[in-house]
C-alpha cells in the first residue's frame, strides 16, 4: 500500500519532468494538441468511466468553449485567461441545460439523447451569425496572458496549456476521489439502492455532467487559442466519436487512460494526415474502434495494469 503510493508519486514526478522538457524536443504545437485532447478525453471519461454515462455528444462542449473564447478574443480584446474562463463557463452552462434533459434517461438512451442534442447544437453553430459558419472563427489572437506574457510564442503558450491541463487533470482526479465521487460510484453500482438511501441520483449525475462539460469547454477554449481558430469540426459528431475512441483506446475508468488514448490517436492522425495513408483515415479509425472493442476493452492503460497485476 505504502510502496504503491511512493511509486505513484515518483511516476507523477517523472511525467511532470517529461512534460517540462518535451517542448524542447518535440514540436510544441503538436504537444499542445495532445494536451488539449487529453483534457477533453479526461473530462469525457469523468462521465463515462466514473459515472457510467456515455455521452455521444460531448463535442458540443468542446466547440462551445472554443467558439465563445474565439469570439471574445477576436471582438473584445480581453486577455486570454478571461477568454478561456468565459468559454469554460459557457460550456458549463450548455452542459447544465443539456444535462438536465439527458440525465432523465439511462444507458444507451442517454447516449442517443446526448447525440441528438449535440446535433441541435451543431446546426445552431452552423447557422448562428457569430460563428463564421463553415469557415469558423479564424485568426483568433492568442493575446497576452495577464496582459504581459506573449502567447504567440509557442513555448510560452505551451507552458500555459500545460498549466491548464494539470489543473483540469487535478480537478478530475479530485472529483473522482471526493465525497461526491463516492456517491457517483454508488449510483453507478446500484442506482435503485442509491435512490432508496435518499440520494437524488439525477442531481448527482447532473453535477457530474456539468463538471465534465465545463472541463471539455476548457479544453475547447484552450485549443482555440493554440490553433487560433474555432470551427465546426469541434462540434461535429465525428468529434464526439473521436473522444470516445480516445477514451476507449486509453482505457476508460482509469485516470491516465484518456491521456494515453488522446496522445495515441492524435499521433496516429498526425501521421496519417501526412502520408499516402491519408486516404485510409476513416478505415483505420474504424478498424481501431472495432479492434479495441473486440480485443482491448480495457484499453492501453487498463491492459497494462492487468499485466502488472498478474505478474507482480
Amino acid at each position: 500500500m505504502k510502496t504503491a503510493i511512493v511509486t505513484r508519486s515518483k511516476l507523477n514526478l517523472v511525467l511532470l519532468l517529461l512534460a517540462l522538457v518535451a517542448p524542447f524536443v518535440l514540436y510544441p504545437v503538436f504537444l499542445m494538441k495532445v494536451l488539449c485532447f487529453a483534457l477533453f478525453a479526461c473530462a469525457f471519461n469523468l462521465l463515462l468511466g466514473f459515472a457510467g454515462l456515455l455521452s455521444f455528444g460531448h463535442a458540443v462542449f468542446l466547440g462551445t468553449g472554443g467558439y465563445v473564447t474565439g469570439y471574445l478574443m477576436i471582438n473584445t480584446g480581453i486577455t486570454p485567461e478571461l477568454g478561456i474562463l468565459a468559454g469554460t463557463l459557457a460550456a458549463g452552462l450548455v452542459g447544465a441545460l443539456y444535462g438536465k434533459l439527458a440525465v432523465r434517461r439511462e444507458g444507451i438512451y442517454f447516449a442517443m439523447v446526448t447525440l441528438a442534442l449535440a446535433q441541435l447544437a451543431f446546426f445552431f453553430y452552423l447557422q448562428a451569425p457569430f460563428t463564421g459558419g463553415e469557415d469558423g472563427l479564424q485568426g483568433v489572437p492568442r493575446g497576452y496572458l495577464f496582459g504581459f506574457i506573449d502567447l504567440s510564442d509557442n513555448l510560452q503558450m505551451y507552458f500555459f496549456v500545460l498549466a491548464i491541463f494539470l489543473f483540469g487533470f487535478w480537478l478530475i482526479q479530485r472529483t473522482v476521489h471526493s465525497p461526491f465521487g463516492q456517491v457517483l460510484k454508488a449510483i453507478r453500482e446500484n442506482e435503485p439502492r442509491a435512490i432508496s438511501l435518499g440520494y437524488n441520483v439525477n442531481d448527482y449525475k447532473w453535477v457530474a455532467f456539468v463538471i465534465s462539460a465545463a472541463l471539455a469547454g476548457l479544453a475547447g477554449s484552450t485549443k482555440t487559442l493554440v490553433f487560433q481558430l474555432a470551427s465546426l469540426t469541434d462540434v461535429h459528431w465525428h468529434m464526439s466519436g473521436e473522444v470516445v475512441l480516445m477514451t476507449l483506446v486509453g482505457g476508460m475508468g482509469t485516470l491516465f487512460g484518456p491521456f494515453v488514448g488522446a496522445a495515441a490517436i492524435v499521433t496516429i492522425q498526425n501521421y496519417l494526415s501526412g502520408g499516402e495513408l491519408g486516404n485510409y483515415i476513416h478505415i483505420i479509425m474504424g478498424a481501431i474502434f472495432v479492434i479495441c472493442v473486440l480485443a482491448f476493452r480495457n484499453g492501453i492503460v487498463g491492459q497494462f495494469r492487468k499485466v502488472l497485476k498478474q505478474n507482480f
Partner: protein, 379 residues
C-alpha cells in the same frame, strides 16, 4: 545560397478522403508532381520536393499541418487548398510565416478580397466568376425571373448574393428562394416551392452532392420542363455523377474543360493515365500554378517568397490552362473561363464526354475588379 535549405519544398494540402476528394484530393498531388517532373525535377540546381497531407476538411487539421510544414519542415509553398474553411485558416498561417499559398480549388473570393494577402495566389476560379459566367447569359437570353435554392452556409450565401447582383444588374428579378441546410438529401420540398414561384430559372447556389440531388429532384418533379435549372458551381466529377438524361442541357461555368482543344486534351490524357479519371478544373489549375511558381523561382534566382511573388505577378501565366491570363497584384489569376452545357445522352461519345463549350468568357468579364486595398503592387 539562393534556395533556402538547399531545396524547394512544396506541400499539397487537399481532401484525400472526404467529399471533395475527387475535386482536389490525390488528383491535386498528382498534378503538382507532374508539374515538378515536367519542370525537370530541379530548380536553380536544387531538388524540388513534394509532400502532401490530408486536411480531412477540418480547418484545425489543415492549419496545424501547414503550421508544422512551415515551422518545422522547411516547406516553401503550399498548393492544393480546397475547402474555403481550411484555406482560410491555412492562408493565415502561411501569411504569418511569409510563405506562399497556391490556391487551386477554393471557391470563396475572400482570399483576394476581404482576406487578401501578399502571399495568396488564387488560380482556377471563384464564386464571382461562376456567377458572372453562368447567370449573365441566361438573364440576357430573356429569362428574367430567378429563384434560388441556396446551401445554408457561408459559401452558399456568398454564391447567392454575387449571383443576385448579376441578375439584377442585367435587368432580371429574384422572385424567391429557399435556404436548404447543407447536406440535405431530399430537395422535393424546395423544388415544389420553386415550382410554385413561377420562376424562369432556378439557380442552385450549392455544390457537390447537394447540386446533384437538387437537380435530380427537379427533373423528377417536372421542374426542368417548366423552368431552366442553372448550377452555379458544378465540377466535372459532379457532372459525371448526374444522370445525363436529367442533367443534359443544363448550363454552367468552368475554369477548364479537358476536351477544349489539342493542348488541353494532350495534358488531360497524360493526367488520366496517372490518375484514372479526367481532370477537374482544380487539377489543371494546380499543375498550371505550380509550373508558374517554379518558373518564377527560376527567373528570380531565389526561393525567397517576396521575390518569387513579385516575379509571378510580373510574368504572364500562359499554358494550356491559363489563356489570356494575368496574375493581378491582389493574387487573383484572371483567365478565360468557359460557359458550357451538359451533353444529353445521345450527344455523348463516352462517359468522359460531358460538356459542350458554348462560349468562352474573357477573364475580365468573369472576375470582379481588384479592390484598391488589395493592390499589393503599390505598397
Amino acid at each position: 545560397g539562393p534556395v533556402s535549405d538547399d531545396k524547394v519544398k512544396i506541400g499539397v494540402l487537399a481532401d484525400m478522403g472526404g467529399v471533395y476528394a475527387d475535386i482536389c484530393g490525390p488528383g491535386c498531388v498528382t498534378a503538382v508532381e507532374m508539374a515538378v517532373e515536367d519542370f525537370g525535377g530541379t530548380v536553380l540546381g536544387m531538388p524540388i520536393e513534394v509532400v502532401s497531407a490530408d486536411d480531412q476538411l477540418k480547418p484545425d487539421v489543415g492549419s496545424a499541418k501547414v503550421r508544422q510544414w512551415v515551422e518545422n519542415e522547411q516547406v516553401d509553398a503550399v498548393g492544393g487548398l480546397v475547402s474555403s474553411a481550411v484555406v482560410g485558416a491555412a492562408t493565415k498561417v502561411l501569411t504569418d510565416n511569409k510563405k506562399i499559398a497556391l490556391i487551386s480549388t477554393a471557391a470563396s473570393n475572400a482570399f483576394t478580397t476581404s482576406a487578401c494577402s501578399p502571399y495568396n495566389v488564387h488560380w482556377t476560379y471563384n464564386v464571382a466568376a461562376m456567377a458572372n459566367g453562368t447567370v449573365k447569359p441566361i438573364v440576357q437570353s430573356g429569362k428574367k425571373k430567378w429563384f434560388f435554392i441556396t446551401a445554408d452556409y457561408a459559401f452558399g450565401h456568398a454564391l447567392e448574393s454575387v449571383a443576385t447582383e448579376v441578375v439584377q444588374q442585367n435587368g432580371g428579378e429574384v422572385v424567391g428562394g429557399v435556404r436548404a441546410p447543407l447536406g440535405t438529401t431530399d430537395f422535393s420540398s424546395y423544388v415544389l416551392q420553386a415550382q410554385s414561384s413561377g420562376a424562369d430559372v432556378v439557380a442552385l447556389a450549392n455544390a457537390g452532392g447537394d447540386t446533384v440531388n437538387a437537380l435530380k429532384t427537379a427533373a423528377e418533379f417536372g421542374l426542368t420542363q417548366t423552368a431552366d435549372v442553372a448550377g452555379l458551381l458544378v465540377f466535372t466529377p459532379n457532372a459525371q455523377a448526374m444522370d445525363p438524361a436529367t442533367a443534359g442541357g443544363m448550363t454552367l461555368t468552368t475554369g477548364f474543360y479537358w476536351d477544349y482543344d489539342d493542348a488541353t486534351r494532350a495534358w488531360s490524357k497524360r493526367f488520366k493515365e496517372r490518375h484514372g479519371a479526367i481532370p477537374a478544373m482544380g487539377h489543371a489549375g494546380a499543375y498550371s500554378m505550380t509550373m508558374h511558381y517554379l518558373k518564377a523561382i527560376d527567373a528570380a534566382g531565389t526561393d525567397e517568397s517576396d521575390a518569387v511573388m513579385a516575379k509571378m505577378k510580373e510574368m504572364k501565366p500562359d499554358d494550356f490552362f491559363a489563356r489570356n491570363a494575368t496574375l493581378r497584384a491582389d493574387g487573383r489569376m484572371v483567365h478565360d473561363m468557359y460557359y458550357v452545357q451538359i451533353k444529353k445522352p445521345d450527344e455523348r461519345r463516352d462517359a468522359d464526354d460531358i460538356f459542350k463549350v458554348v462560349d468562352v468568357i474573357p477573364g475580365d468579364k468573369a472576375y470582379a475588379p481588384m479592390l484598391p486595398e488589395c493592390n499589393f503592387a503599390k505598397s
